[in-house]
């Protein structure tokens, strides 16, 4: 069973994503800020991370960079989630190694398709 880590400081978004991913059959863990995201990633070793950008303590970009610098997480797929949809931010996210960049609000179906694609399940 593939494992997904959900990172967002908005509790309601976390609830919805958790429900959605569990329904699709993934094992799910959650984190509410950047620091927690890194510690959970180390402990839970997810296959994919749904990562919010605007978070307290460490932003999604910083978390992404830290994960990409970690050889142990080389296989990890990173999907950035953000409410800020500017082109420059998309470009920045992809430049630092994110596998996909999804703007909020997103279609739950599309997100699921995207996640499965990245995990080679589609």
């Amino acid at each position: 069973m593939k494992k997904i880590l959900i990172v967002d400081d908005e509790p309601n978004i976390v609830i919805s994503l958790e429900f959605l991913m569990k329904k699709e059959g993934f094992e799910v863990a959650v984190a509410a800020d950047g620091d927690e995201a890194l510690s959970r990633a180390a402990a839970f070793s997810p296959d994919l991370i749904l990562l919010d950008v605007m978070m307290p303590k460490k932003s999604g970009f910083e978390v992404c960079e830290a994960l990409r610098a970690d050889p142990a997480q080389a296989a990890l797929k990173i999907v950035m989630l953000t409410a800020k949809g500017r082109d420059t931010e998309v470009a920045r996210g992809l430049a630092i190694g994110a596998d996909a960049y999804v703007t909020k609000p997103f279609s739950t179906k599309d997100l699921v398709v995207r996640v499965k694609e990245l995990l080679g399940l589609a």
Partner: protein
């Protein structure tokens, strides 16, 4: 004893050398490679040191002690006024000035009378000075040959006449060798520089010989003087004579500029203004060196020769002679000869130029002889006049020497000349710096000063020589006591030089200023005053051309140039000028104002500005420019200057405005960026609840079989997020309205205590649900404030709901207090929550910055509550701030000012 043959041979060889130097200098100048460097220029200034310095300083030191030094301090001080001398040089070059008479005449409307008067004063003043040089050379010859009373004779002539003759010949060869009459003589300047070196070396050689050869250095000499108390006074700078010192400083300061030979060398012969900067220190250094041994020689002479047996003026020769140093005697004689010939050559060249241009030319131009010889080349005539003048001047000097004889010691004569040329000072300086000075004023001043000089100094010297009755000196003219020539108006007690200088300058300056103020200048004067005083501001390429109007024919003007400059030089200058105006052939030059101006200045260089003006006026059909027209033109020129000044000011203002605009633009960009950031943030804040709403809606929609409890929970979230979205939109609009000043306010009397109680009641349930204690301390009978009740309510509710949000459940305590302080009502909301860091204390009032990271409470806040509250409080003139520290809880305080008490 030296043989006459050796002396003659050495003298001739020395003159030959000088002549070779002069030829070489002229040749190099013609080839365009001037040898006049800053050093040569500085050395040539030492033509100031004549035989009066070479022989006379020692003589003067034997009677006047250190006062001989003033004659050298004055020039040093004057040269330090570099700006004055540079201005004089600049004017002289712009106007093609040929002499000091020309300078003064040109300034005051190119006046022939003025040029003539200055020339007459200069000739009368200088001839005795030239006589002095002849006397010095003759005395030197007598000394060398051991004769007395100028009895050295050759071909039946006495030695002095012989010397005058040789000098005349030499001067003619030096100064008027060129057929074309130009104002500069570079060869002569080079020869003078050589002479300066020779006389300095000769004097130093004698000084060293006497001080270290005969005696044992300065110390030895001065200690011997101690044995002669009658000489010791020479070493005191006698304070009682300070008046005399002052006069000598002023006199010699003027002399360095206004003696015709000095003006010639410093101003007319100057090739590069920057040379002056070298001269400013090199020339004083020269003076210092040549004076170094004056006092030792004077003392040595006094000690060596019994009183009255030897003329102190000849110590320079008699001391080495007495010790049998023949070669040194010869060298000293050559040095003295250098000093004398240098002075005579330059002085007679300068004077002959003045006589030719300012006395002879005006007569010639009026004579019928010239009209008859209309086509003839007059440049030869000019040279002939100058040569005649040279011979005439030296002859005059000889006659004066013969007549005046031994009436005065050398120094006396020199100072009389100095006092004469000092009379040029008011007209010169006034002309350079005072536009109101007029021709009539200059004439009056010169005449007054010259008259006083003649009456108080020249005529008494004649009387002393026995040529006239001396009663005007003894008892006053017509027996009137206050007209005593050397105690005018009872001013006794001054020495004759000081007495003459102060009275003559007073009369001169007084007449110059008074008459200038009382008269109006004519058009030419006005234009010249402008060109002289404002010489540094004249930048046009062909200055002055705009002040001429009339008709001229090219042929006639060219004819004039050929007549006075000679055909060759005229042609050369025409070609040069045509090239300047971009023409290959001078024959195609337009006979316009600029061309006439060119021709006039070329002529001025040859025959002086006054004569040039007259000739040009006669040869062209000039239209007189009226005084008003000249004023208009000058006014226009000054308007152009004023305009360009204004333009400069405008430009500066424009630059300042540009800077301001740039700053404003920068600020606008900053605001634009802030607006972008704001929109971006707002977008983010709106998308966040939308994300939840959409996600749960899709989940519910996609899965109709969802458990009821789950369904209820999701729908609850959707409803909550929708409320949050609504609240957010309302607050954004609210804030936008307040910031743009379009918010609606209902101002009335508000009881703040009641508002707080209302708010507490509204939120009571929230506090009870979380188990948070809410205490209130509201002062009794508080005065009402002017405010919007609903808005104040909004503020209090915001602060209370923030407080309850951040305190811990069950243990949380929030205290509300309302009181009065400093003319305002003061509301505080204190909690025992986690507190804020100093940075957070200001951040919480920024938009969308939410305190804390509590996930649970997040959806409640919009991040706009505090910014809106602050806007409201500030609208009513109050303040909203927070006092807090981490773990110490937070206290939010706001004030609302009370209405000012009615007076």
């Amino acid at each position: 004893m030296l043989s006459g043959f050796v002396v003659a041979l050495v003298t001739m060889a020395y003159f030959g050398l000088l002549f070779a130097v002069a030829r070489w200098g002229d040749a190099r100048a013609d080839a365009g490679r001037s040898i006049i460097t800053a050093n040569v220029y500085s050395l040539s200034l030492a033509v100031y040191c004549t035989s009066w310095t070479f022989f006379g300083s020692v003589g003067r030191a034997t009677s006047g002690g250190l006062s001989f030094l003033t004659i050298y301090l004055g020039p040093t001080l004057m040269l330090m006024c570099v700006g004055v001398v540079i201005k004089m040089i600049r004017i002289a070059k712009a106007q093609r000035i040929t002499s000091i008479a020309d300078f003064i005449a040109a300034r005051y409307g190119k006046s022939q009378q003025l040029a003539g008067l200055v020339t007459v004063i200069a000739v009368i003043g200088i001839v005795p000075y030239i006589a002095l040089q002849l006397k010095a050379v003759a005395a030197g010859l007598d000394m060398v040959f051991g004769q007395s009373e100028h009895s050295v004779r050759l071909l039946g002539m006495d030695s002095t006449l012989l010397v005058a003759g040789v000098l005349a010949l030499f001067t003619i060869l030096f100064g008027t060798r060129h057929l074309d009459a130009t104002e500069r003589h570079e060869g002569m300047v080079a020869a003078i520089a050589v002479e300066s070196v020779v006389k300095l070396l000769a004097f130093l050689a004698v000084g060293v010989f006497v001080t270290y050869g005969i005696y044992d250095g300065f110390g030895d000499l001065f200690s011997r003087v101690a044995g002669h108390p009658e000489f010791a006074r020479l070493l005191d700078p006698d304070s009682a004579r300070s008046g005399n010192w002052m006069a000598l400083l002023v006199l010699s300061g003027f002399a360095i500029l206004f003696l015709p030979r000095q003006f010639q060398i410093i101003v007319v012969e100057n090739v590069d203004e920057s040379h002056l900067k070298r001269a400013v220190w090199l020339f004083p250094l020269y003076l210092l060196l040549i004076n170094l041994f004056v006092l030792p020689l004077a003392l040595a002479g006094l000690i060596h020769f019994p009183a009255g047996t030897t003329d102190p003026d000849s110590f320079v020769l008699s001391l080495p002679l007495a010790h049998g140093a023949d070669a040194l005697v010869l060298f000293a004689f050559i040095g003295g000869l250098s000093a004398a010939t240098g002075m005579v050559i330059v002085e007679t060249i300068a004077l002959s130029t003045m006589i030719c241009n300012d006395l002879a030319m005006p007569l010639l131009l009026r004579s019928t002889w010239l009209k008859r010889r209309k086509a003839a080349d007059l440049s030869g005539v000019l040279i002939a006049i100058r040569r005649t003048a040279i011979v005439g001047i030296l002859l005059l000097g000889y006659v004066y020497f013969r007549a005046a004889g031994e009436a005065y010691a050398l120094v006396g004569i020199g100072l009389i000349s100095f006092a004469a040329v000092a009379q040029f000072a008011p007209a010169m300086f006034g002309g350079m710096y005072w536009k109101q000075g007029t021709r009539a004023g200059a004439l009056a001043g010169l005449l007054a000063g010259f008259s006083v000089w003649a009456y108080t100094l020249l005529l008494p010297s004649f009387a002393r020589s026995g040529w006239m009755d001396g009663s005007f000196v003894e008892v006053g003219l017509f027996g009137i006591g206050w007209l005593k020539a050397q105690a005018l108006f009872g001013l006794a007690g001054l020495d004759e030089i000081s007495h003459c200088l102060w009275w003559s300058l007073l009369a001169n300056l007084g007449a110059y200023v008074a008459v200038s103020l009382a008269t109006t200048p004519d058009a030419v004067e006005l234009a010249q005053a402008e060109r002289f005083v404002d010489v540094f501001r004249q930048t046009e390429r062909l200055p002055g051309a705009h002040l001429w109007r009339g008709k001229a024919s090219l042929d006639e003007v060219v004819e004039l140039l050929k007549r006075f400059l000679g055909p060759a030089r005229a042609q050369q200058q025409l070609i040069h000028y045509a090239r300047l105006r971009g023409l290959d052939d001078w024959r195609r030059l337009p006979p316009d104002a600029a061309f006439v101006h060119f021709a006039e200045s070329e002529l001025a260089a040859a025959i002086g500005s006054a004569s040039a003006r007259l000739i040009v006026a006669n040869a062209t059909r000039e239209e007189d420019l009226g005084l008003d027209e000249v004023l208009d033109i000058l006014d226009e020129a000054s308007q152009v200057r004023a305009y360009s000044r204004e333009l400069e000011t405008k430009q500066r203002a424009l630059e300042a405005a540009t800077g301001e605009l740039r700053a404003a633009n920068e600020r606008l960009r900053e605001l634009d960026r802030m607006k972008d950031d704001f929109i971006s943030t707002v977008t983010h804040e709106l998308r966040t609840p939308l994300t939840s709403i959409r996600a749960f809606s899709e989940l519910l929609y996609d899965d109709p079989r969802l458990a009821l409890a789950e369904r209820q929970r999701f729908l609850g979230i959707i409803v909550g997020e929708t409320e949050r979205l609504t609240r957010l939109i309302n607050q954004i609009l609210d804030l936008a309205k307040m910031e743009s000043g379009r918010a609606e306010w209902t101002t009335s009397e508000v009881d703040v205590g009641a508002v707080v109680r209302d708010a507490m009641e509204t939120l009571g349930q929230l506090f009870r649900d979380k188990g948070v204690r809410l205490d209130a301390e509201i002062a009794e009978s508080l005065p009402p404030v002017q405010a919007d009740r609903d808005r104040l309510m909004q503020v209090v509710v915001n602060l209370l709901s923030n407080a309850v949000k951040f305190v811990a459940a069950d243990s949380g305590v929030v205290r509300v207090a309302v009181g009065e302080a400093d003319g305002a009502l003061r509301v505080t909301v204190a909690d025992n929550g986690p507190g804020l860091t100093p940075a957070e204390c200001s951040q919480v009032f920024e938009k969308f910055r939410q305190g804390g990271n509590t996930m649970t409470d997040k959806p409640q806040g919009t991040g706009l509550g505090l910014p809106i509250s602050r806007q409201i409080v500030e609208y009513f003139g109050g303040k909203l701030w927070v006092e807090s520290a981490p773990t110490a809880g937070a206290t939010f305080i706001f004030t609302v000012p009370l209405p000012a008490p009615e007076a």
